[in-house]
Point group: C2
């Protein structure tokens, strides 16, 4: 059945929506919320149906499509699409089984991953799967099978031989070690193609930060070229079709900040597996407000990561680090990029904690790759400026970006009394930076000067808030007046 497209000029950011006139819907016995398959040339996608009650917004014979659908089908206003009607996909049965405590097989998990990848499951159905995996848990075999299923329902970046990678579990603002570690490893001659995410709930993801310096949305071929020429890349994983089911699962985990342990492991390992990693270092920062809050939880997670790695034929090493306060001075894309460049330039004012952590991680990775003196080698590469040269090479080949400017609207948060910093709340610091505009406004965020155990006098600067508009600065400042994230002793 053919319908002529009407561009509705609406984006949902999430579900794929199509709209039919009520008369067409009635004729076809379709109802709001039904699943339909929309085809255009060789492209197809599943949409949820809304109904137009009159002919004003969508007349009979036409189909209103939201932006996400138009993009996916590469179809324009007034072109034709073909409709089919979808029943409920079979994987709903497997999800029901998981709710009932059943262990799922590889084939069943593949079925689920495939339906998620192709948008055949609604967000309610995906939520049931995440909730079932969370409450009933995924066995180690299920985690391994689901990791493979996620990888096998997407594309892979294929590299041969030793391929290194690293991953930090989230929740600690400013933990931007990737952008120091990658240039060091690449300068040492090892292959390290790094795909990163954008921020979902944090003030900056590595992809957002790197984008202050270089293009990060690169086509497949270009990424291969960057890695061939530099040994490395630092790109946005979401732009490629690597483990696409994972991104779509994260969408429904986000509203409740649910991190089903099995899903977390599958998510991280699928991304690594899909870029052919052979040696992976995983950093689990622990501390209040970090994703992992307790040492025992981190240790349990560490063991599982190592086991799953072994089963997938990936050499995985896990370190548990201090995530009790922000790392580096800057929070927000540009401010974090400046921290990274200061470390790479060996700037005497560069944040020592970021430098130290990145060197430690690069050292471990080099050891994993067979360099016995890993940490000294990492330091030598950084101190000699080779890491900076490598970073500039990566930036140049990915495509240099005009650096954003720092937010012109600024506010200094000062101490109201004498004391010593007892703790800093990661969640509150992230929230203030986000209210100020991060990660969307790249030049907004916080520049922190006082850390835990620092002595502080009344009236002394704690951090500066940067924003790109007065409106957002006022909102952020309003928030700091209720809670600035600092506890003094």
């Amino acid at each position: 059945m053919k319908f002529k497209v009407k561009d509705m000029d609406i984006a949902t950011g999430g579900p794929f929506i199509a709209i039919l006139n009520h008369r067409d819907a009635e004729e076809l016995d379709l109802h709001s919320g039904d699943r339909i398959l929309v085809n255009h040339n060789s492209r197809r996608t599943t949409c949820l149906l809304d109904i137009s009650e009159t002919s004003k917004s969508v007349p009979k014979g036409r189909i209103g499509l939201f932006e996400e659908v138009l993009d996916k089908l590469k179809v324009k206003d007034n072109q034709s699409v073909e409709l089919e009607f979808n029943g409920k996909p079979e994987s709903v049965k497997h999800i029901r089984d998981k709710l009932n405590g059943k262990k799922l097989t590889y084939e069943e998990l593949l079925h689920i991953a495939d339906d998620i990848t192709n948008d055949r499951l609604t967000s309610i159905e995906k939520t049931y799967f995440v909730a079932a995996s969370y409450v009933n848990g995924l066995s180690l075999d299920e985690v391994i099978d689901f990791t493979k299923a996620i990888v096998n329902t997407g594309d892979r970046l294929k590299f041969k031989g030793l391929v290194l990678d690293k991953h930090s579990i989230g929740g600690v603002p400013g933990n931007r070690t990737t952008m120091v570690v990658i240039p060091i490893i690449a300068a040492a001659g090892f292959t390290i193609p790094k795909t990163s995410s954008r921020a979902i709930t944090s003030p900056a993801g590595t992809a957002d930060t790197m984008e202050c310096l270089a293009k990060v949305e690169l086509p497949y071929k270009k990424i291969l070229e960057v890695v061939r020429k530099t040994n490395a890349c630092m790109v946005h994983g979401g732009a490629m079709n690597l483990a696409p089911a994972d991104d779509k699962i994260i969408e429904v985990e986000h509203p409740l900040s649910i991190d089903a342990e099995g899903q977390l492991i599958a998510s991280v390992m699928a991304k690594k597996y899909s870029v052919s990693s052979s040696h992976v270092l995983i950093d689990i920062p622990i501390g209040k407000g970090a994703k992992v809050e307790s040492k025992s939880g981190a240790k349990r997670l560490k063991k599982k990561f190592e086991k799953v790695g072994r089963k997938l034929g990936i050499n995985v090493k896990v370190i548990i680090t201090d995530g009790s306060q922000p790392i580096g001075h800057g929070i927000g894309p540009l401010l974090e990029a400046e921290d990274v460049m200061a470390v790479l330039r060996n700037d005497p004012l560069a944040p020592a904690d970021l430098r130290k952590k990145a060197l430690m991680m690069a050292g471990i990775l080099l050891k994993m790759a067979g360099k016995k003196n890993g940490e000294e080698l990492a330091q030598e590469i950084l101190d000699s400026g080779q890491a900076l040269v490598k970073m500039n090479q990566i930036i140049k080949i990915q495509g240099k970006q005009k650096k954003p400017t720092l937010g012109n609207y600024r506010y200094q948060v000062k101490s109201k009394k004498n004391g010593k910093v007892k703790s800093i709340d990661n969640l509150i610091i992230s929230k203030i930076a986000r209210i100020a505009g991060a990660p969307k406004d790249k030049g907004s965020g916080l520049y922190i000067v006082k850390f835990v155990k620092d002595k502080i006098k009344k009236g002394e600067l704690i951090y500066t808030v940067y924003a790109e508009s007065k409106f957002k600065l006022d909102l952020a400042v309003g928030f700091t007046k209720k809670n600035d994230g600092y506890t003094l002793a």
Copy 2:
């Protein structure tokens, strides 16, 4: 902040959607999927935000609202609404606790019920609650507390003294005992105000069936009048604000056909509690394709219903009945209404199984109300025509409806061989009736003539399919050719 309404002329059937122009959204740091509170005069509702990328569909300064929102706020195109920004409601924390296996208190469950009633939770968040209640289970105390919470976040119909009620757990097509039992009980002089639901996945709910005879969407005052004049009513519960959280939970249970046992009990008992029932008979039909498939499951459920009843001060009796095949001849609103009226008229061709089951249930209810000879009394009332008189009185006072006509497009499904009916698949029978147009097309559905254990010859009629359009008849007939729902021995 004020915005001028644009009527988008789109219905979602589910989530409440508002749309802002991307420039307004950017200024306010709002993103697709954010929660906003829209106020108009004294009415308010929570909407999920979509973004218009250009000025074509929603220009700056305007807010596009979907039909559900316009209805709820009673606001029209070009009128003004006021926006507020909602954070995540606190009950999300309680839902996370439930996912983690915590027992919730009455206050926490009230918080959840209140946020559900007022549309402050998204469907994803509600799904997490249902999934957590399903996998981790609700304790008996939680079921009782949640029942009270659901009732206390809605309106109540208050009646004094002995108030009877009945409820059949779903899944068996044609199980329309309510419309026979209620007139009998009311004719015996007892109060029995019955609220029923419309079909969600079945070919007819009692409300859909009753609507073939009388108005079922009545305002609160009118319902009180009907009960005062007739001792009874048979109305659509969804039209009132009785236990509104329950209806909104069912919305997210439906996609996976999940029936968390605790939620099911709370759902049924809340509806009874909200109409002041003192004596309730619950019918659990068991059989393949019914909601409860096993005898052991039915027995467990029976015990829980009785315990919850005791705690709520309601005398609950539970019967376990045969739900292995459809009841009565007709499947679909009008065809089921005809069955009911045939039983009430003592028509010799009336379905004997429906008559027998309804008499048994009416008898038990009369016994519960103190009439020792319950079943004989029920039969006397039915046989003497008093039940029919009462039914006609109820129809008249609720408001008589012009009876729909039976679908003019018909197809006879005949046996392909000689044999004996071994089993009938409830789910397939329901599906065929729905494809033929039920419950929306009231005159569509099935008229069944052969039941389990009946002998049948090749070419003999099994059932007739009725539809209101050729299109739907063809679809239904196409389906019967793949699967007619019958297994012969």
